[in-house]
């Protein structure tokens, strides 16, 4: 077995890492833009069927990636309703699939954070004559570190999943091959060094993300209570 530096210096490895990050970060950005307002709206809104929506959202956190991949595949395939965009087997399709996969995670976790804070602040804010957008912004600002955790949970899920990107991306070398799909392929081919190198990078990324989330939350807890 090579040493770790040798494993990480293999040709093509860092291009694969870069594509993985591009796909997953784009998906996180899109899912955050949609998921945070959605979660906040469900948290403070009162509408018929709200409980069912919350249960559904929580259940969707456990969406199986391969099922999301299959659904997006059907949507984007040439005969599908969105086939005319020609997205299938491109990084764009992978971003779409991962966005759908992690949107419920970000929405459900931010819904919980905002709702807990809202329950605590509601009467006090109304007593101070604060309502509407100003009240919503006050609560969102106060739970900003919990929202960061929700976003990082989404990023962790996106960067670690293999099923969805494999199906809609096709694992095409130099085009849609990302860390997880490469690991799956190279392992079955018996080319362990590349799989191992990518595995190390992937674990390092997930570790760093979770450590960062933990440190930020702890620091915020000490600083702001």
């Amino acid at each position: 077995m090579h040493n770790i530096a040798g494993v990480l210096a293999q040709p093509g490895l860092w291009e694969i890492v870069a594509l993985s990050l591009r796909v997953s970060l784009s998906a996180v950005l899109l899912a955050t833009l949609a998921g945070l307002p959605l979660g906040a709206a469900i948290a403070v809104g009162r509408f018929p069927g709200r409980t069912s929506v919350i249960v559904l959202l929580n259940a969707l956190m456990g969406l199986p990636p391969v099922v999301v991949g299959l659904a997006v595949y059907l949507l984007l395939s040439r005969a599908g309703p969105l086939g005319s965009f020609g997205l299938l087997f491109t990084p764009g399709a992978m971003i779409v699939a991962q966005t759908i996969l992690i949107l419920p995670i970000i929405a459900a976790l931010s819904r919980q954070a905002v709702e807990d804070a809202w329950r605590e602040y509601d009467e006090q804010l109304r007593s101070l004559g604060v309502d509407g957008v100003r009240a919503a912004l006050t609560v969102l600002w106060d739970v900003r570190f919990s929202l960061l955790t929700a976003v990082l949970a989404g990023l962790g899920r996106a960067s670690a999943e293999v099923g969805a990107v494999m199906i809609v991306g096709g694992n095409i070398e130099g085009v849609t091959r990302v860390m997880t799909t490469t690991i799956a392929l190279e392992t079955s081919k018996g080319d362990l060094p590349l799989a191992l190198g990518l595995g190390i990078v992937l674990i390092a990324i997930v570790l760093v993300l979770n450590a960062a989330a933990f440190v930020v939350k702890e620091a915020a807890q000490r600083r702001f209570g």
């Binding site: 007593s127 004559g129 702001f224 209570g225």
Partner: protein, 226 residues
């Protein structure tokens, strides 16, 4: 002047039975009753946090400047000073920073101005809640069992701030089940029992000569639960 506050046939679900009363400017009003009697709900109806199921709550000149301090203080995740300044700014008053600092001095918290509000002790947070109310110069201050979860020395500090409010001309309306506190701070008592206004009297008369059996039992410590 926003007082008197009038409640006409006000009820709330099954918790408050229809009642009518007027709260006048001047004497400190204590809403007295056992746990679950409806004190907190009655205050929230007065302050406008709850809408009555029936009846009307009216102020003589609009809802005006009023503040409420809750049993458990709710502080935003920012400094003590910023919490008070937030309220001043929300009320549309000028110079929030300076007004907030003066209010902190008034309750003896100036030295903690830049500490995060939520890491202060329970007693300090409640004093901070009073500073937040003080900064608004309210005509009426509602207090919902403000010392129920505090130790005796923190309770004394809170009571002295409440006296300062009274001295500055703010009308005090306070819910409590603490008889000693009612005697120390109150001028008149509204005694609530099972959602009904059972008795209204001056503090002296209420404790010396309660007019109803329920009030007499409550004073003697035989909480009537039936």
């Amino acid at each position: 002047m926003i007082l008197p506050l009038r409640l006409e046939g006000v009820s709330f679900r099954h918790i408050i039975q229809p009642l009518s009363l007027a709260i006048e400017a001047g004497p400190s009003t204590i809403i007295l009753g056992a746990n679950g009697a409806g004190k907190s709900v009655l205050m929230r109806l007065m302050h406008g946090l709850l809408a009555p199921s029936s009846g009307r709550v009216t102020w003589s000149d609009g809802a005006g400047r009023q503040a409420m301090v809750f049993q458990r203080p709710v502080m935003l995740r920012r400094s003590a000073l910023a919490n008070v300044a937030y309220a001043v700014d929300a009320a549309g008053m000028p110079d929030p920073g300076r007004v907030a600092m003066e209010a902190l001095k008034e309750v003896g918290l100036a030295h903690l101005a830049h500490r995060p509000a939520r890491v202060l002790s329970g007693g300090e947070q409640q004093r901070l809640a009073l500073a937040r109310a003080w900064a608004l110069h309210p005509e009426v201050l509602f207090l919902d069992e403000p010392t129920a979860s505090l130790d005796p020395s923190a309770t004394r500090e809170i009571e002295s701030v409440i006296r300062a409010f009274d001295a500055s001309g703010t009308k005090i309306v306070m819910a409590t089940h603490n008889l000693g506190q009612a005697r120390r701070l109150g001028d008149e008592v509204l005694f609530i029992h099972q959602g009904r206004l059972v008795e209204r009297a001056s503090v002296e008369r209420f404790f010396k000569q309660p007019g109803t059996a329920e009030a007499a039992a409550f004073i003697k410590g035989e909480l009537p639960w039936d």
